[in-house]
Symmetry: C2
Subunit: 261 residues, 2 copies
Amino acid sequence: MTTPTTPLEFRHAVRAGQFRLPTAGHCGDHAQANLVILPRAHADDFLLFCQRNPRACPLLAVGEAGQWNVAALGADMDLRGDVPGYYVYRDGELAGQPHTLHELWRDDLVAFAIGCSFSFEQMLMEAGIPLRHVAQRRNVAMYRTNIANAAAGPFGGDMVVSMRPMKARDAIRAIQITSRFPAVHGAPVHLGDPGLIGIADLARPDYGDAVDIAPDELPVFWACGVTPQEAIRAARLPLVITHRPGYMLITDIRNATLAAF
Amino acid sequence: MTTPTTPLEFRHAVRAGQFRLPTAGHCGDHAQANLVILPRAHADDFLLFCQRNPRACPLLAVGEAGQWNVAALGADMDLRGDVPGYYVYRDGELAGQPHTLHELWRDDLVAFAIGCSFSFEQMLMEAGIPLRHVAQRRNVAMYRTNIANAAAGPFGGDMVVSMRPMKARDAIRAIQITSRFPAVHGAPVHLGDPGLIGIADLARPDYGDAVDIAPDELPVFWACGVTPQEAIRAARLPLVITHRPGYMLITDIRNATLAAF
């Protein structure tokens, strides 16, 4: 395909089956979203879970039951086909990786779009703060912690965090920058000693790839969008649909408009 | 004396010789200021030094030559007697500790009022962030660093920092809060490993008192108002007058009004 230049063109390319790859680096000025779709029967509990855990589950938009064209996320949106990869979970187990949801869609499905760290990473890079995993062309390192989520209905578990090593000076600046963006995880939840939040070994992340940490760097930890995915799987619901990790929904929302001040 | 309730009443008590003690804890909602007074011949260089080192030397106000009633700092201000203790330096050496400046005042003296960490400490305590030196009734610990100041004329040297130990969570919150107050030193300049900024031993501060640091705490470092005093002494000017450390000028400026956003 020709390289799409707008989120709408990108989504149209995805919808047409012309793009089925990870979305990192595409439409960089616009927010990419984690997608969670589940039946109305569990939607209220999940909404409450997100409300109670805003660092890990910052909601960009929630659709009505059955609604796949959530205008708050973008023009001519079709959540049934605008994501380049879906995961279908049944009873907590991965049961399918369809490219569209047309056969699965039901009138009681509710879509949740959750902010993604790609948005604040753009702001950090524009501020001249180097990101190790980007430089090393790896996925960001993610870890389970002992920070308990606030439970709601069947959803609970512990927070998952992403880690970026930084010099103290950059860490301070990164706290300032990401504090402006509560809709995409906001400020870090921890920095320094990983053992204090239950992480035994930074060299062995639970998700993503380990990255090198220099002696003059601190590990800085942000709440991660994998947290709700873990909570959802642990809840072992009959049906949950998510995006495939890394294969995000590209929205029309400009990252810069997410700044809280 | 009866306890003064407003900054103006406080200054009047000082001026009347009724208060000659450290000012910590007095008129807590209002900014206390570091005071530097020096002849016009060196004032332009010192102004430039402050402009180039805003973290250490955030200017609340600068008077005109000969002006002791700087209205930007408060009503009915008299910088010749409204500070409970003065230091007079001649050729870089402490040469006197007068209670008033009436005999020293000259038409070419220029007063600089520099923001003080008492202001942001109020904001931290109101946010529920414990301050160890306050709890331990000690002076804050201060250290010389290897962070070079940007020089201007005879003024140079290295940054002096104050250190407050905090849990990571509180350190992150403290960065958010103090970032809002660039007029009183703003965000920290460092946190974590003190060796990275040239501090050999936290137990041996260069000024103030050492405080205990718990295993789950990080040292957090802010640029300190002692920096300009060090630079001034090192410049060995014929005459410089400052407040006596801890004996600050209490201004009419409400701390809350210093928030940049």
